[in-house]
């Protein structure tokens, strides 16, 4: 396997599809660059929690990166909504706020991992790889 995000299935490589959620264009671009460089496919980009829930329903991605502080709907509420649609949804929080209460709230809402910004690209790749199994 050459690239990290690729899995072998029936002779063809299928990239894992990721939904990126962040209200900051800069973060979406950064995450997209990291993910595509490492063999993942960015299935969609959501700019708030509401969009993430809607896009999750239509795109059915393999994993989601989720910011917390966003307009319309915050990331924790979005995790809860997505887990109602798909109890097995694999969501990684990706936020500037790393306080314990936030981590606990996210994990109890159903998030699988928690990355604090600013992050090293490897940290994102590792987390996405891990949740994609």
């Amino acid at each position: 396997m050459s690239s990290l995000g690729l899995t072998h299935s029936g002779g063809t490589h299928v990239a894992k599809r990721i939904l990126v959620t962040d209200d900051a264009m800069f973060m979406r671009v950064t995450l997209k660059n990291i993910l595509t460089k490492n063999g993942f496919e960015v299935a969609g980009e959501a700019t708030n929690g509401r969009e993430a829930v809607d896009l999750y329903r239509t795109l059915k991605p393999d994993a989601v990166t989720m910011d917390i502080t966003m307009p319309e709907m915050d990331g924790i509420s979005a995790v809860k909504e997505i887990r109602k649609i798909d109890p097995n949804a694999r969501i990684i929080m990706c936020t500037a706020m790393g306080q314990k209460n936030m981590v606990i709230e996210a994990v109890s809402a159903g998030a699988k991992d928690f990355i604090v910004k600013p992050f090293q690209p490897e940290k994102v790749v590792e987390a996405v790889q891990k949740v994609c199994g």
Binding site: M70, P71, G98, Q99, K117
Partner: protein, 155 residues
């Protein structure tokens, strides 16, 4: 007119660690100053809000040239014009510092939340009508001066 040091240190600590990670170099702290209200004389300002046990605003002010240089560094290539992506990078820098400070504030017993950052361009802006005194923390970077205006009070 006083602001508790417990509110300030988290921002000082968070700004140093975030700036070091994002820009790859340790900044230098200048002389702290005080203003009777939230006022900025900088050309480019990222305004972040804090809500919860303590509330108020933290503003990251810089010149347009400094904003261009920081955005270029964050994006990984020189920017031609200060476009939406550049503005988003600068806003995210403020968001990351205020966000990181929240973990340190929580450890000190002040559990708070932040509001999404906004960018205001244009000097001599009075940001808030509240007369909460503001502490000014100048931070020197390779890219220029970054001025933190911290204006917080207990709810």
């Amino acid at each position: 007119m006083s602001m508790r040091v417990e509110y300030i240190n988290p921002f000082l600590q968070a700004s140093f660690s975030v700036l070091e990670t994002v820009l790859g170099k340790t900044p230098t702290k200048g002389e702290l100053g005080m203003r009777p209200n939230v006022f900025t004389s900088q050309q480019c300002n990222v305004i972040t809000g804090v809500t919860g046990k303590i509330q108020g605003q933290v503003i990251y002010g810089m010149s347009l040239i400094t904003a261009d240089r920081i955005a270029s560094m964050m994006i990984g290539q020189p920017i031609r014009t200060f476009d939406q992506l550049a503005a988003s990078a600068i806003a995210e820098l403020g968001n990351m510092i205020t966000g990181n400070a929240m973990a340190l504030l929580a450890e000190a017993g002040y559990v708070c939340d932040i509001t999404p950052p906004t960018i205001v361009r244009g000097a001599n802006v009075k940001i808030s009508t509240l007369n909460i005194p503001a502490l000014i923390i100048p931070v020197t970077l390779d890219q220029g001066l970054l001025e933190l205006t911290v204006s917080l009070q207990e709810k």
